[in-house]
């Protein structure tokens, strides 16, 4: 989907608000939101559905609201869409009564949970990958309507495969709850191929791209 999230290469943004050291969270609510995202999920949720939900935010909201507020809207909309909460419950802001107490995690338990969150997205792949390291490829020219991970700035561009990572879960399928794994490659693009002669010769952009995004050159 050619949504507002696809920001790579877009021009007109101002200077970067450079910082060198930061607290983990800029505000309390950011910390709460991150904690909620790590603990409160529904069976309905995958990383790719989560990302697609963010991509489906109103474009002007996507561009203007803080990062963790996007996560909050994604969580709320995801729960409403899955039938876990109703819109009315969300808009009422939650009740006062704390009903069910779930087990409390200690900080040590959290650290263990973070470690256990080391997820392997690779899967066995019975076929041969279509490409090998060193192959020259060109990317697909067109976007697809759903969630996908080929940025628009790298569409219709020539590149070279520099690494093969086996088959990884394919986001274009996973968001639809179809678990398919396809070969994943790192592809190197010369900056001038992507941006034209204004770019510095010798600079490059590396992208990890799934096989269906690539065509033989």
């Amino acid at each position: 989907m050619d949504g507002m999230h696809d920001l790579g290469g877009k021009e007109g943004f101002g200077p970067i608000a450079v910082t060198h050291e930061d607290p983990a969270f800029q505000a309390d609510w950011e910390g709460r939101m991150y904690a909620l995202s790590q603990t409160v999920g529904s069976s309905d949720m995958s990383i790719d559905w989560f990302r697609f939900l963010a991509e489906l935010l109103p474009p002007e909201a996507y561009l203007s609201i803080p990062y963790f507020e996007k996560w909050c809207l994604v969580a709320l909309t995801g729960f409403v869409n899955a039938g876990v909460f109703t819109e009315e419950e969300v808009l009422a802001g939650g009740g006062e009564s704390e009903i069910a107490a779930s087990a409390v995690q200690s900080v040590e338990a959290v650290l263990a949970a973070v470690k256990a969150g080391c997820t392997d997205f690779s899967r066995h792949y019975a076929r041969e990958p279509a490409f090998a390291v060193g192959d020259e490829i060109v990317t697909q020219r067109h976007g697809v309507p759903g969630h996908t991970r080929l940025p628009s700035y790298a569409r219709g561009c020539a590149g070279r495969i520099t690494a093969y990572h086996g088959a990884h879960l394919f986001p274009d399928a996973v968001w639809q709850r179809i678990e398919v794994a396809l070969p994943l490659y790192t592809v190197s693009f010369e900056a001038r191929e992507l941006w034209g002669p204004e770019a510095a010769g010798g600079d490059s952009v590396m992208l990890d791209l799934w096989e269906p995004y690539l065509l033989v050159r």
Partner: protein, 216 residues
């Protein structure tokens, strides 16, 4: 595309629009609504949320990555393992976890500089570097890092000569990247802890380059 109604783009967009326009504009109140509902339903205990905030505020952060970098500087065998399979190498410290299941270390050299971004969301190796900085998540960084990395680096105070090539890693799949900066001169014989103190978070993202042994 699936016609499954639970995956209906138009329906989801409509819920988004409704919630965004009717919820109070303050993000703190929006998160409070989610927290209240989640606690009410017994999905999580408030104290568990406190523990997650504490873990990421006090225990997980860029100091982890700095130790990994320092060890790679000291121990050539470790450096080789890190470049070969970073997820396994950081497990020596127990730093593997959220978003580092497929970690790659990419090494700077005298004629190569690496820079990491995620243009499509803001992917980041949380268990190794902690929470990402605000600028990493900004539209400006996401838009500009791939197109004009040298201008972006200059804003961070990194002025690269034309002889140094820039390699930007746009980490839009599940691979995450750790930049292995060059060891600063004047640190011969330093131990891991002392070296780790020199490694900045930004150097591990690639928005910092020339680390300094200090004292000048």
């Amino acid at each position: 595309m699936s016609q499954d109604d639970k995956r209906d783009r138009a329906k989801v967009a409509e819920i988004h629009r409704k919630l965004h326009s009717h919820l109070p504009p303050d993000p703190a109140l929006r998160v409070k609504a989610l927290e209240s509902l989640a606690i009410e339903r017994g999905f999580v205990a408030r104290e568990t949320l406190d523990a997650w905030v504490e873990a990421y505020s006090e225990r997980i952060g860029p100091k982890r990555g700095a130790r990994v970098v320092a060890r790679a500087w000291i121990d050539p065998a470790y450096r080789a393992r890190l470049l070969q399979n970073a997820t396994e190498a950081i497990a020596d410290f127990g730093f593997e976890g959220n978003a580092t299941g497929h970690l790659k270390a990419v090494e700077n050299s005298a004629d190569l500089h690496n820079l990491v971004v995620c243009t499509l969301c803001s992917c980041y190796p949380f268990s190794l570097l902690g929470m990402s900085p605000g600028w990493y998540k900004s539209a400006a960084y996401r838009a500009r890092a791939v197109r004009e990395p040298r201008a972006v680096l200059a804003e961070f105070g990194v002025d690269l000569s034309a002889e140094v090539a820039v390699r930007v890693w746009d980490s839009t799949a599940e691979l995450r990247y750790l930049v292995l900066p060059q060891r600063p001169a004047g640190t011969e014989g330093w131990d891991e802890e002392r070296l780790a103190a020199l490694v900045t978070r930004n150097a591990m993202i690639g928005t910092d380059r020339d680390l300094s042994a200090g004292g000048d």
